[in-house]
């Protein structure tokens, strides 16, 4: 057994932040569980003076690319990136090849995550077979295999009838439909946000309306069917307002926002670099402000990375030819603290940990309060450290981060998964 897998760990002198509040406390871990005190000396002592100790982060939205695009990321490299970002659990998006639309593929993804052992990898599954938008996947079989989130992410379900059936059929299965909101008839060929920058650059625009129409449609379908919905990567002012109103009506709706939609704007596309191409696109400062407000007032529940690795060759292409997506797992905390400066740290951590854990159906294992008896899934980070990302130092197999040169605040030092250090002193242990 290596030292990182030792049984008894003491995290000493840190500030614990969890859903119950903030306090100074030592944390004792024995055999994967938080305990009152250790029997004997700890095998490992972590000096957490000046650091924050929180429940492990949970990402609702990671593209780990395996199976199908292992040249961009594998479940192992993606898990390592996640661990370095402070994550103890990630939800793997189903737009793999083959699609995560049946139990065998879902099981494969979960097993690869277990083999890597860096992070709990929870596969989501697609709403429709092959994400083709035509036929529902076997929700019940997949739910039995542990799937809680269903999404055709990368695409929204275009057909309103099919989506109505999905909500209706999902009822009672304890699963959540997670929608990528984009009316594709309005975004054909779109490269970036429709606005003055796209007008100047002569690029086909992705209008905010295309997102908002589908947010509105699904809110009404939730109202009609009573089935829960989760909105992926909200990006526009009006989307946030629609969700705020729906929540006020008491509808079972949750939502997430990405680090890039709270920090970057469409003007970056004027660099012609496809690093800034993402779907939904980077929008205006007004939208960024609205999304931040949504996180602040709880309209948006979670910060989710939409971690989307792509090999350099594809991102070196011109804007319209390059695929959308950017890395997120290793920079999420740094972006969140840097750009949500007026939020309480505990509220930011809530958006990274226990709130997404609940949405993913992982609330019994992840995002738990840091108290004796709970599983030791923890993140230890320096909430004040300023740093800059160096692409070559990333654990991800890909390098497509848009945050080079962007000051980040908050760096993960240690990550504990089931009582085992997956990250120690900022380095992955395996």
């Amino acid at each position: 057994m290596t030292t990182s897998e030792s049984n008894n760990i003491l995290i000493a002198g840190g500030t614990v932040v969890d859903s119950s509040g903030t306090r100074q406390a030592d944390v004792h871990i024995s055999n994967g569980v938080i305990v009152d005190a250790l029997d004997g000396d700890p095998d490992i002592t972590i000096d957490a003076a000046g650091l924050t100790v929180s429940p492990g982060f949970v990402d609702l939205h990671s593209h780990l690319r395996e199976p199908g695009k292992e040249e961009a990321e594998t479940i192992e490299t993606g898990s390592r990136a996640a661990a370095l970002g402070g994550y103890t659990a990630v939800v793997a998006m189903p737009n793999t090849d083959p699609t995560q639309d049946c139990v065998s593929v879902v099981d494969f993804v979960r097993r690869q995550g277990q083999i890597a052992g860096l992070c709990d990898v929870h596969p989501s599954a697609s709403i429709t077979v092959g994400r083709a938008g035509e036929q529902l996947t076997p929700f019940a079989e997949l739910a039995d295999a542990g799937v809680r989130l269903f999404t055709d992410d990368g695409n929204g379900v275009q057909d309103p009838l099919l989506m109505r059936r999905a909500f209706e059929y999902a009822k009672g299965l304890d699963v959540t439909m997670a929608q990528h909101c984009e009316v594709e008839r309005l975004t054909g060929g779109a490269v970036m946000h429709e606005g003055d920058c796209c007008s100047r650059l002569g690029l086909p625009g992705w209008p905010s309306l295309a997102e908002e129409l589908m947010v509105h449609r699904d809110i009404e379908l939730v109202r009609l069917t009573g089935a829960p919905a989760h909105f992926l990567h909200l990006s526009t002012q009006k989307s946030v307002a629609l969700v705020r109103a729906a929540k006020a009506d008491g509808l079972p709706i949750t939502a997430e926002a990405t680090p890039h939609h709270i920090s970057l704007t469409d003007e970056l596309l004027a660099s012609y670099s496809a690093l800034y191409k993402v779907n939904p696109p980077l929008r205006t400062m007004d939208d960024v402000t609205s999304v931040r407000d949504g996180l602040r007032d709880g309209t948006i529940d979670a910060i989710a990375t939409d971690h989307a690795p792509h090999v350099s060759e594809t991102k070196e292409q011109p804007l319209d030819l390059a695929p959308p997506g950017m890395l997120g797992l290793e920079t999420a905390l740094g972006v969140a603290i840097a750009h949500l400066g007026d939020m309480e740290l505990a509220d930011i951590v809530a958006c990274l940990s226990w709130k997404p854990a609940a949405i993913a159906g992982l609330g019994s294992v992840h995002g738990r309060d840091v108290v004796p008896g709970e599983p030791a899934n923890l993140t230890v980070f320096d909430a004040a450290e300023e740093w800059e990302v160096v692409p070559a130092h990333l654990a991800s197999k890909s390098r497509n981060t848009p945050f080079v040169g962007v000051p980040l605040i908050g760096k993960v030092k240690h990550t504990v998964l089931n009582g085992i250090l997956t990250v120690r002193d900022g380095s992955a242990t395996r």
């Binding site: 003055d196 690029l203 012609y272 011109p318 804007l319």
Partner: protein, 328 residues
């Protein structure tokens, strides 16, 4: 340090003026019995066209040859891009053969900027996506300058650009150039053919800019209307487009005598220009083509006469400083 021509805004109004002045010299060369000078002997200009445009390519290659540069052509139909070779590989491979300037046409916005970052050769944007076509804009400015004899600038000149602005790199670059020269530009199009956000003066009434009493615009710049726009529900049909936005005989008759009619070519006859060009005394469309060669000579000379060696990192300023002390 190499220089490139990627957009009018990066060239700036001083740069536009410099190219137009140089184009006078090049136009004189083009008028000679032997329209060729040895200025760029030993330089190699490679045109890399990922989008078909025989006219623009020939114009650039003629310009390069009149300056005695060697020319190479890479056309996408003969390329290996279809085999998955990346744009970067293509450029780096050609650059390794020894190229002083790339002339790039690409259907993607920004492609010439990417190429510019990958090579020490100069890059000329010969049209990228719907974005920019700076040499077209420069030849348009040169045509107006010579036709109206306005070498100092276009202050007070009123320009109307008519048609499919949204999908037109020509409209974007030519508008920027007209404004850099001091002219006032109005865009004339239905909202479906405008970009989503517009900073220019706009109207959807062509008759208003043509006027009725000889008080119409000084420049009527007609854009090419492409058939595929109908299928995208941007205009109902060509008949209605021509009735609203075409230069019809009735409108031609109302044109002020001083109004120049311009078009980037090729003209969609019967659509945006529904009148015999020989009956349009203000038409300078052929002059635009002729001037294109002189202006592209000026651009190539401007870039390459200042680029000692694309494989060296010597700043031109050092070479200049060294040469100035020896200047006879």
């Amino acid at each position: 340090m190499k220089r490139s021509l990627l957009s009018i805004s990066e060239l700036g109004s001083d740069g536009v003026q410099r190219i137009l002045d140089l184009a006078d010299t090049m136009a004189e060369v083009s008028r000679r019995p032997n329209p060729k000078v040895p200025a760029l002997r030993g330089k190699t200009v490679c045109s890399v066209f990922f989008e078909d445009s025989t006219r623009t390519r020939l114009s650039f290659e003629t310009a390069a040859k009149r300056l005695s540069a060697d020319t190479m052509t890479f056309a996408v139909s003969q390329s290996s891009l279809s085999k998955g070779e990346s744009l970067r590989d293509t450029i780096e491979t050609i650059a390794a053969m020894g190229v002083d300037a790339f002339v790039i046409r690409h259907s993607s916005t920004g492609a010439p900027w990417l190429v510019d970052g990958w090579t020490k050769a100069s890059v000329v944007n010969a049209g990228d996506g719907w974005h920019a076509h700076p040499t077209q804009a420069l030849l348009d400015m040169y045509t107006v300058r010579t036709a109206l004899n306005r070498p100092e600038g276009f202050d007070g000149l009123r320009v109307a650009i008519v048609g499919d602005i949204k999908h037109s790199r020509v409209a974007r670059s030519t508008t920027a150039a007209f404004k850099a020269m001091g002219a006032h530009v109005t865009w004339v199009a239905p909202t479906t053919l405008m970009p989503p956000v517009v900073d220019e003066a706009v109207t959807d009434r062509l008759d208003d800019v043509i006027g009725t009493d000889g008080e119409g615009v000084d420049i009527l710049y007609m854009l090419r209307m492409q058939n595929e726009r109908m299928t995208e529900a941007l205009v109902p049909n060509l008949r209605e487009y021509t009735n609203r936005f075409g230069l019809t005989p009735a409108r031609a008759a109302r044109l002020a005598p001083h109004t120049l009619v311009m078009h980037p070519g090729p003209v969609n006859r019967g659509v945006e220009i529904a009148v015999d060009l020989s009956e349009l005394p203000g038409a300078v469309i052929n002059q635009q083509v002729t001037n294109g060669i002189s202006v592209r000579m000026a651009v190539l000379y401007d870039l390459l006469s200042a680029n000692p060696d694309p494989t060296s990192d010597i700043e031109i300023t050092e070479a200049v400083a060294a040469a100035r002390t020896e200047q006879p």
